[in-house]
Symmetry: C2
């Protein structure tokens, strides 16, 4: 396109943003307008994308990190012929694919955005996939706001991208100097951003973001830069093109007044259609998944009943085996691979191991980006430190991403390291994620089977592992369907059902033995699938024993006690229940002392059962 055509295209995008926000009565026209020339130049001259084949492996990727500027993205889709005028006008209405912030309900959106500072981190995962794994020539473009450069996650990603020499990655920062409530920290000081990005090893181009020729040159420079990612810092004006709005405070996230006049000021509604460049043909397709179906047991480690093995260790070996069976499996860790045991995978499959160093947000973001490119990521760190990436996990669910998260060092059972290292909130966090799966094995064979099963599930799947050695309870051929449970003790006259998972299964078994000797038979359920939960077995246990006691190495809120309670929130009669959980603030102690202090060891379970039984009799 000629420069004047590019400029006209920018005006078209602006006018579209103004009118759809006006029609919706909400939205972010001014944030769209600042970036419209950037979008026009990218779409017309640089993006290589087949909108009819969003799954084309060589398509470039475009991530709108400033997701509130969704009107701009949808206007771009209209200009590309992917969205028609009628659909454009459904923006922000019930049932529309054109949501307030982009989600993968639209086939050209790989990942949801709208929580700022996430676009670049996720894009690093996509760029890693292209450069290091797929070896495909696609480029990854991120259009980001300037306010979101304050997010630490951006700097984790900046560091990671430079470290991995991702020259297929281009970040464009729309420096419009105005945030939600006023000027940003650095305003129009492009050099402030440039100094920082330079220091981290990026190539940086500063440009007038409304000069289409300068933008064109900047994108070309990014494409020809090798060995490092490029940031294009574009000086822009929020609300550009509408005199009453341009560079003015107080207009964030609001439709413009007198939208019709603004559209006229922008040159009216235009209908230019851009012939977007096709991705290169004849490129090798992405490698197919391994021939062994997910969940298959081929190569999984096998443990002898009675041996003692930490579930984290079984995880490490199982992950190595799953990695051998499935070529699309990638492991990520936040520099604790010695502890999480992803080190085994790293040694066996170094080409598919991504060391994220201590940057949990970047680790989860990279996993989401890899998942968007068809990989099966397993991202691991201490369960406690996964809280660091909570917002990324939440957004991964909105992205409909298939991601495996594995948290080690669960609960007080870790012993002397103390509360900072104990995952005591992770079940609550992961259960509350939409569509998640939460698994919590108590032995090595169970762990191995669940690690394999995870690969084939949808959404966010979480596995919780334990630091210390635990006895192997199950044979290596036992199966553990997701959504199931195991009844480990059962008598016709059980008085109470103990519901446990992970470390507390072993305490429950000890308590059951103790109680049986006292003439109080109890049932023991190993609730390894915390979400979805085995409602049938729990209902049967409730019907037959009348009393359920849950015991978990986790705070009382949102974990196993809650998972069991939810089963009975169906309006039917509910059993008596007691929750044993970690209610005090732990300090340092041995694992056994910790379980005792927290009141979740065999003695505490037995004592609670005695009370329940007395109470029912009374």
């Amino acid at each position: 396109m000629r420069p004047d055509e590019l400029t006209a295209l920018g005006q078209q995008l602006r006018a579209d943003a103004v009118r759809v926000s006006d029609r919706a009565g909400s939205g972010h026209p001014t944030s769209s307008m600042s970036a419209a020339d950037i979008a026009a130049v990218l779409l017309a001259h640089h993006l290589r994308y087949d909108f009819d084949r969003p799954d084309h492996p060589a398509n470039d990727r475009l991530v709108l990190s400033k997701g509130h500027a969704s009107p701009l993205l949808y206007a771009l889709y209209r200009a590309a012929g992917a969205v028609d005028e009628d659909e454009l006008l459904t923006y922000r209405t019930l049932g529309s694919r054109l949501e307030g912030h982009p989600t993968p309900r639209l086939p050209w959106v790989d990942v949801a955005t709208g929580s700022l500072g996430q676009g670049l981190p996720v894009a690093v995962g996509m760029a890693l996939a292209g450069q290091r794994l797929d070896r495909l020539p696609y480029r990854v473009y991120v259009l980001s706001g300037d306010s979101e450069m304050a997010e630490g996650s951006v700097w984790e990603a900046v560091e990671h991208a430079a470290y991995e020499h991702l020259d297929n990655l281009t970040l464009v920062v729309d420096v419009n100097r105005l945030g939600q409530r006023g000027p940003t920290r650095h305003g129009h000081d492009l050099d402030a951003y440039a100094r920082r990005l330079h220091a981290f090893g990026w190539h940086v181009v500063e440009v007038d973001g409304h000069d289409v020729e300068a933008l064109d040159t900047a994108f070309a420079e990014a494409r020809s830069t090798t060995g490092r990612p490029t940031a294009i810092l574009a000086r822009t004006r929020k609300g550009r093109g509408a005199e009453a709005a341009e560079d003015r405070e107080g207009l964030h996230g609001k439709p413009l007044k007198d939208a019709e006049a603004v559209v006229a000021e922008l040159g009216g509604v235009r209908h230019a259609r851009v012939a977007v460049q096709a991705p290169p043909d004849g490129e090798p397709p992405a490698p197919a998944p391994g021939s062994v179906p997910p969940g298959s047991v081929a190569g999984l480690p096998r443990y002898e009943v009675g041996d003692t093995v930490a579930t984290r260790t079984a995880y490490g070996h199982a992950l190595e085996a799953v990695g051998s069976a499935l070529g699309r499996v990638v492991a990520l860790d936040a520099e604790v691979g010695d502890s999480t045991r992803t080190g085994f995978f790293a040694k066996a499959h170094p080409d598919r191991y991504v060391e994220c160093y201590i940057a949990e947000q970047q680790m989860v973001a990279a996993a989401v980006g890899l998942a968007a490119r068809g990989y099966v990521p397993y991202a691991s760190t201490f369960a406690a430190f996964l809280t660091r990436a909570h917002d990324f996990v939440r957004m991964a669910a909105v992205s409909r991403a298939g991601v495996n998260l594995v948290g080690s060092h669960a609960g007080v059972a870790i012993g002397p390291d103390g509360p900072s290292q104990m995952g005591l909130e992770d079940l609550a966090m992961l259960r509350a994620v939409h569509g998640s799966t939460v698994l919590y094995p108590c032995d090595a064979n169970q762990t191995a089977r669940l690690v394999a099963a995870m690969a084939g599930l949808d959404g966010i799947r979480y596995l919780r592992t334990t630091r210390g050695d635990l006895p192997v309870l199950y044979g290596a051929d036992e199966e553990f369907p997701v959504g199931g449970s195991k009844v480990l003790r059962r008598h016709d006259d059980d008085r109470v059902t103990l519901v446990a998972a992970g470390a507390t299964v072993h305490e429950a078994l000890k308590a059951a033995d103790l109680l049986e000797r006292e003439g109080v038979p109890v049932r023991v359920v190993d609730l390894y699938s915390v979400k979805p939960v085995d409602a049938d077995t729990l209902r049967e246990a409730a019907a037959q024993t009348g009393c359920l006691l849950t015991v978990e190495d986790h705070h009382p809120e949102g974990g196993i006690g809650d998972a069991v309670a939810e089963v009975f929130a169906d309006g039917g009669p509910a059993p008596r229940t007691v929750r044993l959980a970690v209610r005090s603030m732990p300090g340092s102690a041995t694992p056994e002392e910790q379980l005792h202090e927290a009141g979740i060891d065999a003695d505490a379970i037995a004592a609670a059962v005695r009370l329940m039984v007395e109470r029912v009799i009374a």
Copy 2:
């Protein structure tokens, strides 16, 4: 001290670290040894601290961000005479104050550490208090590891500290080049860190971290640098002083072999006692809290019953009033003050408003730092984006910090912006924090009272606010004790109890009216205090109506349904329950459509009640 004495002091600290870890059978001697000379020089020549008066307002602060090096800190306390030999040897044992990672069980520890990348962000809050609020001459020292420089939270803090010109802040990075599982990203490339810190506006000194004279000079340089914070990058060797361990991989987090010989190699057990410099006397004490006790209503906004006001707006006005009444109240926001309504406070009390830009981790960390200096912080952003700071909230509880968090834009009720902006996991996240308080008001007067009450509570207190206008239900003089609830509809023959909070209270009232017209009287409980929860009222309702229906604008896990279920996890008979919550992935729609689609509006409540009633009859 002479250089040789400083060196000997460093050896003393090393030997102590080696022997306590050996005795405990766990711990991090090698990570302590790398930083021992830094600690020696700091303690002997630069720190001004009265160990007998840890509450002295002019004491310098020392934050051990690399909390796993706790043996070094405890050795330092022994050298300062604060901890004796007997206590030192209790390291990591049950009941000891000397936990695996430092916590405020020790009076000289202001904040817990052990989740890496948190020390500097929290220290920024402390330094802000000293420089901008207290105007006290104390300095804040942070001793950090090199691995943790990968955390984005560190760069949020680096940015914030430079922006606020915190020249009372000194960061020492112990660049020992080895992380948990091997070399760090930048190894011994001190320049890599220096370039980055320079670019963000810091003064940087590179130094041999085992040269006590060079360290001494560096600390002096930091103290004399004005207008910007200083980072001392210290090149060190992990395991320094033990030939078998020094600069070797595979020795992270493990006691050293043959500890006795290592102690001998380090010159044996020493007992040097350092005369630590006192803080300057005669300094003005920190300002006293305002004369109005927390929870007082003086100056709180008052609303007329029947008016419609968003609870976020009431929050903003109430916060402004609480700020007027209490001089120690500080408000922080992550650049969304227009939306959270902290803008009102910012305008009224600009000196006590901290703009954190879009950096939620830094916002919560600064709040924790301010709380450690006796301030009463209120940190606000969208409820959804508080997930960004989950690890900081978790650690704030370990720090026993008193922090108010306020999350706006709760739930699907926000309308068209879509799921990225909706807080749907925040109740689960905040309830699972140890010792937390979770409040969720449904009207403006209730909000105002709760905002005032929060100031006087311990621990993490969370207030959830709503975007849209809601009718005022309560008079301005109504009281809302934390741990209470309000029964809004009550009949002798209630068939079901509706338990709601926030937006769904209004839906429950509509449903109750609808059902009453159908001859089905129902009770309505406004559960504004989600944690602690009003067990008495819920038990009474259960006893009288037999059926409870919870309805919440939140995912089904960990929120109000769970809070109610926990009440009945006492082993007693439990009522029938049904949970209405957001089970689908929302898109864009109007607030009313969203509540309807999620099945949490009046129609859905009424339909569920009809089913419950039928079922009970059947």
